[in-house]
Symmetry: C2
Subunit: 505 residues, 2 copies
């Protein structure tokens, strides 16, 4: 907001930095515990995105030093792309500034999180963020940056050439926070991060008390999602205006084909015929009513193809199996997936695994671990569409009863995650997402049910075999006694051969 504030009759404008400073609880910085967790989370997510941009296996180190009782320093170092030097100040010192506003799956997307962490550090300890980065063009620069909250602009306190031994970024934030309470959440967050990003290797060092490395469960970097054109169902007047503005094409038909995904020659022609518009109508000459009508028709026309899933990066069956099996002690892991589908023109997919094992609490509905764009969501579960939908399923039909310890790991990935708040903890209730989640849960429920049934059957079988074995043994002893032998022959190997393959005896 470079415009200066007006104070006429008390009216004035505030910058987005001031809005989020005033309402930091909305962005995950509402209390000293959450602040530690959110700082780690925002920095780690940025690092993971930067490593994937570089198509490298992420090696991320998180250091937490708690010199004073309630003041700590969080430092996160990665081997990602590094930040272009001329972008460092604004990327870290300006709210709503970022590189991830295109249509593809990313962990970050608001251009808000890291600056919020910087801002929180600044207002609680009066310290600047330290950024040390190296991109592919030179050998390193370091910066001390504060945020001018009123103006929402970065203030660079120091900037100097400083060697960094490989590409990547190190960010260090000093903040007031409650490490003792936050520590468990941070650990859980990192552990679950390696479930959804099993290719990442994370090292966490806390003072002298903890040094652990987790992850690196697979050794291929997921393909970078491809930015996609908007889907026609996203066509509101605002989007149409923007697309027309940058469009060089004059004809309406080719404008539609070139600007949107899933619009082919045939569907474009059908649509224009339906609207009574000529295919060569100059798109920049459309009047307001025509534009509005075009949007309505694009959103409601059902002749388009399925949305493009190349802009997404699901975990996938193999990796999801591997990561859950190596992170949790589970005896059943079954994968299922749904989609691609779309909500208001934003492509999404749902995938998940169902697990069975003593590590999970036995309850009437399975426990759930939620992920969005490979990020674990730890707070505000009860208002999340994934959780609300979970409760709509009749789990007793799927063998989930009080005595069965089952868990679901559910990953929602989309070119845009409809978070309920800027703190990114729960997903809004949209009918398309609910519908797909319900279908996914039923798929996973059937897998769970088969497993539970088989387990029950197998325990019945085992009893039958035990009974048979006892009788067989008696008969053998009886026969042996009749035949005058002192020792009856062992029968257990015979029983085993008899029931081989039926069940583990």
């Amino acid at each position: 907001m470079s415009k200066t504030q007006r104070k006429d009759e008390g009216f004035r404008s505030i910058s987005p930095a001031e809005f989020f400073y005033r309402n930091r609880q909305m962005a995950g910085f509402g209390n000293p515990t959450q602040a530690v967790y959110s700082t780690v989370r925002e920095l780690v997510e940025n690092s993971l995105d930067a490593c994937e941009d570089a198509q490298r296996l992420p090696k991320i180190r998180v250091d937490i030093e708690s010199s004073l009782s309630d003041t700590l320093t969080v430092t996160v170092a990665d081997n990602g792309t590094g930040v272009p030097y001329d972008q460092v100040p604004e990327a870290f010192g300006r709210v709503l500034y970022g590189s991830k506003y295109d249509r593809r799956q990313r962990r970050g997307s608001f251009g808000l999180g890291v600056t919020m962490a910087v801002l929180h550090g600044q207002i609680t300890t009066d310290s600047p963020v330290l950024v040390h980065t190296r991109d592919d063009k030179s050998s390193g620069m370091s910066y001390n940056i504060l945020v001018d909250i009123e103006q929402n602009v970065p203030v660079v306190e120091e900037e100097q050439v400083r060697y960094r031994d490989h590409e990547g970024t190190t960010v260090s934030i000093r903040l007031r926070g409650d490490l003792r309470r936050a520590q468990e959440r941070v650990l859980e967050y990192l552990r679950l991060t390696t479930v959804a990003s099993p290719h990442a290797r994370l090292r966490l060092v806390i003072d002298d008390s903890l040094d652990m490395t987790i992850g690196g469960l697979v050794d291929t970097v997921p393909a970078l999602p491809v930015p996609s054109k908007p889907h026609p169902r996203a066509a509101d007047v605002e989007l149409l205006r923007k697309l027309i503005e940058k469009s060089e094409h004059k004809g309406l038909r080719s404008f539609l084909i070139d600007s949107f995904q899933q619009v082919g020659g045939r569907s474009a022609s059908r649509l224009l015929r339906f609207m009574g518009l000529h295919p060569d109508t100059e798109v920049k000459a459309l009047n307001r009513e025509e534009l509005s009508l075009l949007g309505t028709v694009l959103r409601s026309f059902d002749g388009f193809g399925r949305p493009d899933s190349r802009s997404l990066s699901p975990v996938g069956q193999d990796d999801f199996h591997k990561s859950v099996e190596s992170t949790f002690n589970a005896s059943l892991v079954r994968f299922a997936g749904r989609g691609p589908s779309e909500w208001e023109g934003n492509v999404f997919m749902l995938e998940g695994v169902v697990c069975y094992g003593d590590e999970f609490p036995a309850a009437d509905i399975p426990s759930m671990y939620r992920f969005a764009n490979r990020v674990p969501l730890l707070y505000d579960a009860s208002e999340c569409v994934l959780m609300k939908t979970l409760k709509r399923v009749n789990w007793s039909r799927y063998g989930a009863r009080g005595s069965q310890p089952a868990a679901l790991f559910i990953h929602f990935c989309s070119t845009k995650v409809p978070y309920k708040a800027a703190g990114k903890q729960s997903i809004a209730h949209l009918p398309q997402i609910e519908e797909e989640a319900l279908a996914l849960y039923r798929k996973l429920g059937r897998a769970l049910n088969m497993f539970v049934k088989k387990k029950e059957r197998s325990s019945r079988e085992r009893k039958k075999i035990r009974d048979f074995s006892k009788m067989f043994n008696l008969m053998a002893r009886y026969g042996a006694a009749l035949a005058g032998y002192d020792n009856a022959p062992s029968t257990s190997h015979m029983v085993r051969r008899l029931f081989e393959g039926d069940v583990d005896v």
Copy 2:
């Protein structure tokens, strides 16, 4: 954001209008049902605030016309102050622009809600908002306004002198929404609005199908809350810098006394002695470390008085009783209040009533109606601190059992409500609020318990009287028969006199 966007390596900035356009689910505009409810809500709240500014009994008319199946027009007219003409464009066409950023209780506070309603109308129907307003200086102006989302500036399409017959504002927004599903929520919202603002009279007209007027339950306008100085516990470095900037005082001691509430001569002196700073130290000469230390000490020093509650406007016992009793069919209404207290330097109070009546569901914990700054909160209850704390109370100790239909009406009022999201539906979990809520629930619980006990006792008493009455009647008949009378005398009036006052027979 008047700065043009930079496209270097994909980095760019987005305006707050674009942020909330992209993430409108965060501001309560996530689906067609919520959009109708939020549009009504934002306009009504603005109207109520404007009427209170004018210190008039609010008379607000809400018209909903649904010409097309999924397109409707919401019009809200009030008798408030009107909007200064030169402020109309920005007040309705710019996100994060408002007149309510001072420290006192208001319904609105973000400078976001109404512009979000305008923005949602615009992107779904391509229609401008119509504003017709009259302030105390002239006789009326009308405007058609759109939002330039990319720049976050208003675009005035039309502006003309137009007579309005009294002071106030009429706002009309055309939007796509689902009225059928939203109608019940809108009705509930308005009904509960009259509970927390019983002085307001609301008329709702929907097409030709509904015309109802509610409210006007009391006829005094609540005193306008007074803007307050910040409480020292709000003193972070950012606030200190701002206060020092506008301070003309040079001495630290008088700076503290003049800039903060609850800092008197004695506490200021004690505090400065503790910090080892001279009372006359020039405040503008403080260096960074001293400033940071000053903040820390101000926040943790416990020698300040209780926060000033004149910046708040609680409903109060009489009005709360009246409004709940006339809105619900309840047989017990008991009031309790807590505070004033503060969270991070923001003053707050909690008050509530407990009710008993068949209108409420019988459950193990009472139903709850939540209010924040006189605004009913209808969504996202389960993540709200008021609800989470409610579940921590052992209600069986207070006579709330499955068979008892009880309800709580809880009002949180504060100079700042820590909403979890811009959609203003649930309050963040802060320890100070939780503590006060717990204490309030226990107070209300004890009132409920006494009522339930008395009710049980009275039903036992009634049985005793019935038994006695039966025996007495028998004896009378027996005596009459012995004495040779044909008809035994009636005894019920004697029994009644005997037990008079004990219980209703």
